[in-house]
Structures are given as C-alpha cells and as structure tokens.
C-alpha cells in the first residue's frame, strides 16, 4: 500500500490539533502504521498552524509532508488554503472551510483580507469542496466543533469510514462533548 499523506492547515485555536489526534488514533486502532507531526512555530495562539499525518498498511518513513506531497489538504481557514496549497500533490483533494480569521496585519489595516482564494483553488483543483463548517457547527450547537465537521469530510474523502470513529472520539474528548463531536463528524461525512 502506498503512503497516504494528509495535511491540516489552520489558525492556532481552531482545533486542528485535536482533529489530527483523533484521526491518527483512529488510524492506529485500525492497524495502520502512522506518524504525525505538528508545526506551530512560536505562537501560543493566532499563528498559522499545520498538522501532518502519514499512514499506510506498510511502513511509513518521513513524519512530515513537504511541497507536492499531500493526498489531501484540509484548510480550516480560507487564507490558510492558499498558503498551504503548494503542499498538495497534483491530482490531490482539497476541503476548504469557507471561514475567515483576520490576522493582525489585516486587523491593523495594513492588508485587506484577500478576495478570490476559493475561486483560484477551484480553478486549479478538480476535487475541491468548499463549505462553511462554522455555520454547520453552530447549527449543531457549538461553533467549536467545526473541526469535527471538517474531519468528517476528510474521513469520507480518504475512504476511512470503516474505522469506529465514535469510539475514538469518546476516548479523546471529554464525556460531555462526545455526542456533539460525533454528530459534527457525521454531518461532515454527509457533505462529501
């Protein structure tokens, strides 16, 4: 089996790390060889962050993904889709959260939030899904679970529905939040 490479990009505080944790634990329980790497630079919060997951039924080697390598890019924030698009391999898939978080240079007026990112990526990536995961998460009951909505779409896109995700979520989130996270994940799977 070839090595599969998944890149999650987002902004500190958006829950990419929890999504990556659940994903990699699920893969591990299902018997895959897995490595995961997190890159969060010096920022506690608010910086650009990525999580890298590589897995295979055979051996996996590099724990980190570089340009032109990812089978799928899941961007938790619109600007972070363009920033990391070079890491996607040709013919790879993209899931974009139609959700914008202003960075400090935008907040202070030095830059405008760029327009046209979604269109640019759609033009260039055949397999591209865009939706507002925050809106869906709010409908479910908590904006914070947008990470699970996106994870659900990722699981479907990578044909990993056979793994018992409910158990993995229960093992990795606080009991009172398990149900809403599972609901969000299922909703995300339906969106693709």
């Amino acid at each position: 089996m070839a090595i599969n490479k998944i890149l999650l990009s987002g902004v500190g505080g958006q829950g990419t790390i929890l999504a990556a944790k659940i994903l990699s634990n699920g893969l591990l329980y299902a018997g895959y060889n897995v490595k995961m790497s997190e890159i969060h630079g010096m920022s506690q919060r608010g910086g650009s962050v990525t999580s890298h997951i590589v897995y295979s039924k055979d051996e996996v080697y590099a724990p980190v993904i570089d340009k032109g390598e990812a089978d799928i890019l899941v961007a938790f924030e619109e600007m972070e889709a363009n920033r990391w698009i070079e890491y996607l391999k040709m013919g790879g898939k993209v899931v974009i959260n139609d959700y914008q978080i202003m960075s400090i240079p935008i907040l202070v007026g030095a830059f405008e939030y760029p327009e046209g990112i979604k269109e640019y990526i759609k033009e260039n990536v055949k397999d591209c899904i865009i939706y507002d995961a925050a809106k869906i998460a709010r409908e479910i009951g908590n904006e914070k679970v947008m990470n699970m909505v996106l994870l659900g779409s990722l699981i479907k896109a990578m044909n990993l529905e056979h793994i018992s995700w409910e158990k993995v979520i229960k093992d990795n989130v606080k009991e009172q939040f398990a149900d809403i996270n599972i609901k969000a994940l299922k909703r995300g799977m339906e969106l693709i």
Partner: protein
C-alpha cells in the same frame, strides 16, 4: 497495545522505565513538554529549575548521590549549561546521568540552530541520536547503563521534528534501580589530579568507541550495494522513503564516538557513499578526516539548496539525487497575507508595549529586549525593541549601552525589557551587576507571574511548584531592593496612565530605575492570592454611535479581540475579547465603555 507518543512524551516514558528518580529542566521550545510529562510519574522527583545551568548541576548532584537523574533543555539551553556540561567530563560522576538536548533545525522558535552534536565531541562525552519515539525510550535506558559503567554523562540529542512527532511505542514496566556506589575518591579538578583524570577520559573514549562500533543503534541494512547511505535522526527516514531498496543504509544512532570501524566496513562494501544529515557536516567531516570519499553537503548545494540550515525533506532529496522537481499548484502571492503570532487578547504586555512605543516617539531611547512572548513587542504595531541577543541579555546590554552613552556625553536613555521568568533565569545576575557598578539604565520587568511563551511553566515568582501546589512566591521588588536599588516602582500595565507616568519619570531621570509591570498572563490559572489581587473590567462595550471608525484602537494595540466592520465603518469586539479594557483607554472618541472598573 501500542501507544502513540511524541518524542518528548517518550523521553518521560524512557526515564520512568529506566528507574530514574530525579529530573530538572528549564522550559524552551522544542523541549518544554518533557519535564511536565516526567512530572506525571510520582516515582520521579521533578522540578523546574531557574535556568539550564542550575538544572544540569542539580542533576549532576543527584547522580553523584547515586540516583539515575536527568536534565532537559532546548538547543541554546546547552550554551547556558555549557560550563557544568564541559566541566563534568573530566571528573565524571558515579550515578547515571543523561542530558536531553533538543536542537531545532529550522529555528522555529530559537535564536540559533547550532548543531549540538559538536558539543559531544568537544566534551568527549557520548551522544545518542534517536530517529523516533520508540528509539528515544530504548536509547535512554541504554544510556543510563553506559553512564553508570563509564561514569560519564550521556547526551540524548533530539531535534524539534522528533520532539513533536508522534510515533507508536510499546510500554514496558519500570525497573527500580539500586543506587550506585559512591566512590570515596575526590572528584576535584585540581591541577595535580588532572593527569589521572585525562588518562581516565582517554581510556573511557577508547571503550566508548568500541561500544559505538558494536552498538545496536549503529546498524547496516544491505540492499542494492551501488549506493550506500549514512544517515542519522529523522533524515534517515527521508532517505529510506526516497531511496527504498535502491540503496544500502548505515544508520547512526550512537553518534559520539563515531563508529568508524563500522563506517569503514560499509564504505568498502558499497559503491557510491552518500551522507544525509541536517545542519553541520558532522558525519561527513568524520569520514573526510579518515580519507573516506563521500557525497555530502556539496550535492545539495549543487541542487540549489542550503543544506547547512533548516530541515531536510523528501522532495529535497528527490531533487538533489534524482533531479526530480516537485510538482504542485503555486500559491497565489497576492493572497498571502502574513499571519504572525500576536500577543493574546488581554495580554498585559500589550499595555507595556503601547506605553513603550509612545515613549520611544517622544524620547531618545534604545530598548534592549529579551526572550519571551514580549519579543513580539519588536514587531508591528509596537516596533518597540531595538535588539535581542539571548536569555537575560537585555539588562546587561542596557547597563553597557547606558555607560557608553553617558561617557560619550550622549543624552540617551537605555531601557532593558525582561520578563519575570527570564529575570530569574539570568537577568537577576545582570541587575546585580548593574546595581553594584552604579549603572543607571531603566529596567522594565514584565511580571506576568508565569513562563508564558513556552506554555505556562512555573518559576520562583509564579506561586506554584511543578506539581501544582501553591507556595509563597518570590517578590521581585524585594530581590531588587536587596541589591541596594532605591527607585523601584510597581505598576499595573493594564493602567496605561499609571504605566506611562512611571516610565516617563524613569526616562527623564539619570538614575537607575526598576519598574515592575505586574499583571498575570491572561492564560494563567491564577493562584488564590492572585485572584484576590488582580481585577479586570466586568465588560467592555463599543458604543457604535460614538465610534468614528478611526481604527486607532486597532492600529495602536493590535488586539485580536477587535475587528473592523468595513460595511458600517465601525470597530467591534469579537469572541476573543476578554474585556481587559486597554482599547477603552486609547480610544480618542471615548466610544469604548468599561463596566465594573
């Protein structure tokens, strides 16, 4: 059942399984999580040290008491601990001692990406280099065995990639360890004793070389013998992914002393020899010194890379050795807006830097910064720091520059800006020196009652120990007063008027002033005492009728809790706002209301 651990978590598991009983560290990326994880095991006494030198010295003491001990630090932490590190080589120690040092190719959050493998050779003490979490655990256990047999510190050299990557490991039981016998022979490096010590080190190095040549961490995998690859750390995996069975491998995990006999054997048996290692040409130079031809850094340079800095990657190897270019969709440049890390909404440093940047516009000052979240004071919107060197340097530099401005008759004020944890780390020495030598700079201590940058570790002023129990905090004002400093002012950085007055007074005077900007980090879990002492407004609201849309609040504070509504041309607070009230104090239209002040 396999567990999925980061390299840092694996360090904790390794020292636990090895039966260690003492651990000390000063936090620093990428090593910070290690000690917190060790602290989860009640069998191991764990403490945050005030700096890396203290941490290593305490671990040496504990090992000399016969117990397996550990110190952990980040890449540049070893510079702080270099004195005990180098000095323990000759006398040696009776008990097991490991040092975990976490290098950072790519300097994601370090001021330097020095290759600490060179320190092992410099000190004549053995070094292991794991490639993943499983190896971390195994190597730590074997490192203790070697440490005790050879009476030497053993370094485990990690890189940030290994620290923060999760790979599966298998847990084993902890094996309790009987204390080592403590020899009666004094370990005092007096000149008369040095000859004997040097002879012992020579003998030790010889024996360690034999161990390295026979070590299970240095191993050969023969596949196609046309190409032979020598590699270590995580680049070994990049090589395996790119070359697969098309090459043979010599994987080096016990990297000082180098297994030269094994390398020579490998070189004889393969065709083209390639060395794949990040940062310094450490392995490559060992080969070249022995006259063994190999392809190393030059190949990467020819392919257009700078292989002496940053991390390697799979595409980098593909390009260098197979001339394969990565194919990808270009990111559109005009869509790339920087997303630099920012001070959190409610961060007390925001008030301090707002005032500092105002003072800089009004007075001729130089601001020497330091290492911590407040490094962000150097970037927009504050631009309030002129230079940063290393932990604690702000205060020593402020002293030095003020002396020289004064002697040259230049009317310029030197300001040193340092956090509480960095002050206790090494700044305290600098301030003692300033006071003793009658220096006159302005010293700003940003006391947020924690070590915020690295994830809120405790320090002498934070009011807690590593395990969480509350203790009487050290008081910065008492420490400063004990040096004989007269002008000590404590201000609340959330109160801009009070902060500006104190700073103005200090800058206008020609005496040494210490200003303590005291307010806990917004992310800190407050101690009982702190929750009584520090209050913030109950709420902050922007009156949209009064807001003129001038964006002064945004442009001067850079607060992520504020955002500009383009349609209505108004500023609003958002979900990040914690109602700290800084923006209310800078609004020219007085449109921001603070309730419950």
């Amino acid at each position: 059942m396999k567990k999925f651990l980061t390299g840092n978590e694996a360090v904790a598991r390794g020292v636990y399984e090895a039966g260690a009983t003492f651990a000390s560290a000063y936090p620093g990326t990428p090593s910070s999580e290690i000690l917190k994880e060790v602290g989860e095991y009640s069998e191991i006494y764990s403490e945050w040290a005030t700096n890396e030198k203290v941490s290593l010295e305490a671990a040496i003491g504990s090992a000399q008491a016969g117990m397996r001990s550990m110190a952990a630090m980040k890449v540049v932490g070893l510079n702080v601990a270099a004195d005990p590190f180098m000095s323990i080589s000759l006398p040696g120690i009776d008990g097991g001692l490991i040092l975990v040092v976490c290098d950072e190719p790519g300097y994601y959050s370090s001021q330097d990406e020095q290759d600490n493998r060179i320190f092992a050779e410099f000190s004549n003490m053995p070094m292991f280099e794991p490639s993943d979490s499983g190896e971390v655990i195994d190597m730590i256990k074997d490192a203790y065995e070697i440490s005790e047999k050879q009476k030497t510190l053993v370094t485990i050299r990690m890189t940030g990639r290994i620290c923060h990557s999760k790979t599966p490991v298998t847990f084993k039981e902890r094996v309790e360890k009987e204390p080592e016998n403590i020899s009666k022979e004094p370990k005092v490096p007096l000149p008369a004793a040095m000859v004997g010590m040097l002879a012992r080190v020579n003998k030790r190095t010889k024996e360690l070389t034999e161990l390295s040549n026979a070590s299970k961490y240095n191993y050969i995998e023969y596949n196609s013998k046309d190409i032979g690859i020598i590699s270590s750390g995580v680049p070994y995996y990049y090589a395996k992914e790119v070359f697969g069975n098309k090459a043979s491998y010599l994987k080096i995990g016990f990297s000082y002393p180098m297994p030269m006999e094994m390398i020579k054997e490998f070189a004889r048996n393969v065709g083209k020899l390639i060395v794949i290692e990040e940062l310094a040409p450490y392995i490559e130079n060992h080969l070249k010194n022995e006259g063994i031809e190999c392809i190393g850094k030059d190949a990467f340079v020819k392919a257009g890379f700078n292989p002496y800095t940053g991390e390697y990657s799979v595409p980098m190897l593909k390009k260098t050795f197979f001339n394969e270019d990565s194919k990808y969709i270009q990111a559109k440049r005009e869509f790339i807006v920087p997303r630099p890390p920012a001070l959190c909404a409610g961060c007390p440093h925001r008030g301090t830097f707002y005032v500092l940047s105002k003072i800089r516009k009004k007075y001729d000052v130089i601001v020497h910064g330091d290492i911590g979240c407040y490094g962000l004071g150097a970037i927009p919107p504050f631009n309030a720091v002129d230079n940063v060197v290393c932990m604690g340097a702000s205060l020593s530099m402020a002293h030095g520059s003020q002396v020289s401005f004064n002697r040259r008759g230049i009317k310029k004020r030197s300001i040193g800006v340092i956090g509480d944890s960095t002050f206790y780390h090494t700044g305290v020495n600098s301030l003692m020196n300033t006071a003793y030598n009658k220096g006159t700079p302005v010293v700003c201590i940003l006391d947020n009652k924690t070590t915020a940058m690295t994830g809120h570790q405790e320090n002498p002023g934070s009011g807690r120990l590593l395990a969480g129990s509350e203790v009487e905090p050290s008081k910065l004002e008492d420490v400063c007063a004990s040096f004989g400093i007269k002008n000590i002012t404590i201000v609340n950085p959330m109160n801009l008027t009070e902060s500006e007055e104190a700073l103005t007074k200090a800058v206008e005077s020609d005496e040494l002033h210490v200003i303590i900007f005291r307010y806990p980090c917004v992310m800190k879990k407050l101690t009982k005492q702190e929750s009584i002492e520090f209050k913030k407004p109950a709420s902050v609201t922007i009156d949209s009728k009064k807001c003129t849309g001038c964006k002064v609040c945004l442009k001067t504070t850079g607060c992520p809790g504020l955002e500009y509504d383009k349609e209505n041309k108004k500023v609003n607070t958002n979900s990040a706002c914690v109602s700290c009230g800084i923006c209310a104090q800078v609004c020219p239209a007085k449109a921001i209301e603070r309730a419950g002040v």
